[in-house]
């Protein structure tokens, strides 16, 4: 092959490493996106049985957000196989034990339910915080867009912005504000 043809080959078949920030994201909706990338369906050269997926580095998995009261209601079932070995653990308990499990399980369920699943899970690297080992961070080149907008806390907004923001109503004449 000529040099240009060779570089084209490397570019098409090379594995790209994506970064995904999970802060304030729903893990189950994000898992769909991550599974899409891990399987390689974002590429025109996709074929189910060939190992054409990309790597995804998911950071801040400790700071995922679930809707409403799901932290108290969502339950993970596990059976050891032995009699009396059934356990039902709540999402917040599982998250306290290990902050990466919820994301891992979500992506595992979102992938195709066949023998390629374990190979694709090996390409997923989950970290609870911003801290990622150097060797992995050196490979990361792209970033996946977050699905939900990240909200801003009131005390993190500078005071002059809060004071100068347009007000919706004026105080009545003889009203004392606490």
């Amino acid at each position: 092959m000529s040099l240009t043809r060779r570089t084209q080959q490397w570019a098409t078949f090379g594995r790209t490493w994506y970064l995904y920030d999970m802060k304030w994201q729903n893990p189950f909706h994000s898992a769909r996106k991550i599974a899409y990338v891990l399987s390689g369906r974002n590429k025109p050269i996709f074929e189910d049985r060939t190992d054409c997926g990309d790597h995804v580095v998911a950071i801040n998995s400790r700071h995922i957000s679930l809707p409403g009261n799901e932290w108290e209601k969502r339950v993970y079932y596990h059976h050891t196989g032995y009699p009396g070995g059934a356990t039902w653990t709540l999402a917040h308990e599982l998250h306290a034990k290990d902050p990466t499990i919820i994301v891992e399980k979500a992506v595992y369920s979102a992938l195709d339910k066949d023998l390629t699943r374990h190979g694709r899970m090996r390409k997923l690297h989950i970290f609870p915080d911003d801290k990622v080992p150097e060797k992995i961070m050196q490979n990361v080149t792209h970033q996946l867009r977050q699905m939900r907008p990240v909200p801003v806390r009131l005390d993190h907004i500078p005071k002059d912005v809060v004071d100068n923001f347009p007000k919706i109503f004026d105080w009545p004449k003889d009203f004392v504000l606490k």
């Binding site: 700071h63 957000s65 939900r148 009131l154 007000k167």
Partner: protein, 218 residues
């Protein structure tokens, strides 16, 4: 019988108005409010205000021709130049209905205007909203407080900051605004999960096809 009962109640529970009104208006400004020196138990109780109270009136002294006039003048509210103009000038339409904002629980700058420094929601007679908008705002404020987005508007012993909370309450959570009944018929949003497609497996390939033979005229 029923009406006479009501009248009796009014006569019994009438407040005793001994304090004249001009002192009462100064009392509200917390300037002349002196703390009671001795309690029942003989202890002093000082009223300490941690947040600055809103002064309704200001004492102004003017001198002309050997006449000193001391009067309490109404102070202009601090919001004078910052008010949003109601686009529909008809006063029957409340401001939020006229502006037609798609408010979310993360719009903290707007929602915090409807709260006291305690974190309590202000009543409708002060906010000037219609009944529907007031309900929407109460629900959105509750969502924002549960999500821990306004931790500085809180009573002192509370744990509005999620990091200080116990157990599942310290983890992040978000809310879906469509669950508010007053909101759902107007703003239909696409469910988040539909932004990314489900992985569908391909149907098995067709091995052979039966096609009808072409009938040629002979």
């Amino acid at each position: 019988f029923y009406f006479s009962k009501q009248i009796n109640k009014m006569l019994i529970h009438q407040p005793i108005r001994t304090i004249p009104t001009f002192i009462k208006c100064f009392q509200r400004t917390n300037l002349f409010k002196s703390p009671p020196l001795y309690n029942f138990f003989g202890a002093t109780s000082l009223q300490i205000h941690t947040s600055s109270p809103r002064f309704l009136k200001e004492i102004v002294t003017t001198e002309d021709n050997n006449v000193i006039t001391i009067e309490g003048k109404y102070v202009e509210s601090p919001r004078q130049g910052q008010l949003v103009k109601n686009p529909i000038e008809d006063k029957k339409v409340c401001v939020l209905c006229a502006l037609n904002l798609n408010l979310k629980h993360t719009d903290v700058l707007i929602l915090s205007q409807f709260l006291r420094s305690d974190g309590c929601i202000l009543p409708r007679r002060i906010t000037g909203l219609c009944k529907r908008q007031q309900k929407i705002v109460t629900y959105l404020v509750a969502m924002a407080q549960k999500a821990g987005l306004m931790p500085n508007l809180n009573p002192k012993p509370s744990k509005m900051d999620p990091e200080l909370r116990y157990g599942p309450k310290k983890y992040k959570r978000y809310f879906i605004e469509d669950t508010i009944r007053e909101y759902s018929f107007k703003y239909k949003t696409k469910p988040e999960s539909d932004y990314y497609p489900l992985i569908k497996t391909k149907p098995p390939p067709v091995v052979f096809k039966l096609t009808p033979k072409k009938l040629t005229p002979n």
